[in-house]
């Protein structure tokens, strides 16, 4: 009974996100900052992270696609922190970013769920994008008064959920900015179409939308049931001290 209760509360003890990517080959991406073995100080992946305060030159993908996010330029690497019992990559909101290598359109698919455990500090920012500075494919733009869609080139009917609470459908930049707290939160966006995306990145789409934030986990997986989505939220939330 005790074990069952623990499993239900944490949502993580009996749930393994690896199951989202089975059978092997299921489309998606998974970056897990809580697993220090996925972090490397260099982009080649030869110098593992061993302590808080080291740069993240490479963060391995645990989905099985080997689509690590990397930053070849040392001065633009996020910094890995262990603080408050949490592991996260800190992006400075100036020039930090990391991205996958280019992949073929169709590597991701047309009906996906996007999850991100994030604590953003700045108002005008973007959670994720395809290719920096060009094209119009991005997810989760916040701005103070923006009336444009918060996510563009990523599906036509997107449902936003913050910490387990629905925030609405097809939010504008301003609406998403209002919904997303400046503290740890688990963002869930469903109905995401990434079938045309040829890369995945976070941090610096352009000078206009730098991400100043802690990132503790990103999961992009095929569309799940509501029950499974709740498990994913709880699993990510547990990584940053949220009981969802």
């Amino acid at each position: 009974m005790h074990r069952t209760r623990l499993r239900t509360r944490a949502g993580g003890l009996g749930f393994d996100p690896a199951s989202l990517f089975l059978p092997s080959g299921a489309k998606g991406l998974w970056y897990d900052q809580s697993d220090i073995s996925t972090g490397f100080q260099d982009s080649a992946g030869t110098t593992p992270q061993t302590a808080s305060g080291q740069p993240t030159g490479r963060r391995s993908d645990k989905s099985g696609k080997t689509a690590a996010v990397v930053q070849a330029t040392s001065a633009a690497r996020p910094t890995f922190f262990i603080a408050g019992g949490f592991n996260y990559d800190s992006l400075d909101g100036v020039d930090d970013s990391y991205s996958t290598s280019a992949f073929s359109a169709g590597t991701l698919t047309s009906n996906m769920d996007f999850f991100m455990a994030v604590s953003r500090n700045n108002t005008q920012c973007m959670l994720a994008y395809n290719t920096a500075g060009s094209g119009t494919q991005y997810i989760g733009v916040c701005s103070e008064a923006g009336s444009s869609q918060s996510s563009v080139g990523a599906g036509t009917t997107l449902a936003y959920n913050i910490n387990g609470t629905s925030a609405g459908t097809n939010l504008t930049e301003a609406q998403f900015n209002t919904a997303l707290p400046k503290s740890w939160a688990v963002v869930q966006i469903t109905g995401v179409d990434l079938s045309d995306w040829t890369a995945f990145a976070t941090g610096l789409y352009s000078s206009s939308y730098p991400l100043e934030a802690g990132v503790a986990g990103i999961i992009i997986c095929p569309a799940q049931t509501d029950a499974k989505r709740a498990q994913i939220r709880r699993w990510l939330g547990a990584k940053v001290g949220l009981s969802l």
Partner: protein, 114 residues
């Protein structure tokens, strides 16, 4: 490997020179990934400055601000006078919040509509 944090703000006119030097002397990956973030006094285009902020090798950090050492490390590929001018017009800070440096310089991120 140890790393040290630097914030580097260069005028737009000096960015290509900064890239050339950084590519020539640092083991820190492609310099074109540095100074990609645009700054101006009003937040409007065009960018008057570019900023890079993050961890670099101690060897690279030791060269910053020292024109002669940079000239030597770059193997003389850039005239010493040009390096002196770059440093005279740039801001180099150790272990400082880059956002505070931007504010102190009276600069803002260049903002564009998506």
């Amino acid at each position: 490997m140890s790393w040290t944090h630097r914030t580097l703000v260069v005028p737009a006119a000096y960015r290509d020179l900064a890239w050339t030097l950084a590519n020539g002397i640092t083991p820190g990956g492609p310099a074109e990934g540095m100074w990609t973030t645009e700054l101006s006094a009003t937040g409007d285009e065009p960018a008057t400055h570019y900023i890079s902020s993050g961890y670099i090798s101690p060897e690279s950090a030791a060269l910053l601000g020292n024109a002669q050492a940079t000239y030597d490390a770059a193997g003389g590929q850039v005239p010493l006078a040009d390096i002196e001018a770059l440093y005279a017009n740039s801001v180099i800070r150790a272990d400082e919040d880059p956002h505070a440096v931007i504010a102190e310089l009276g600069l803002q991120f260049v903002r564009r509509e998506l």
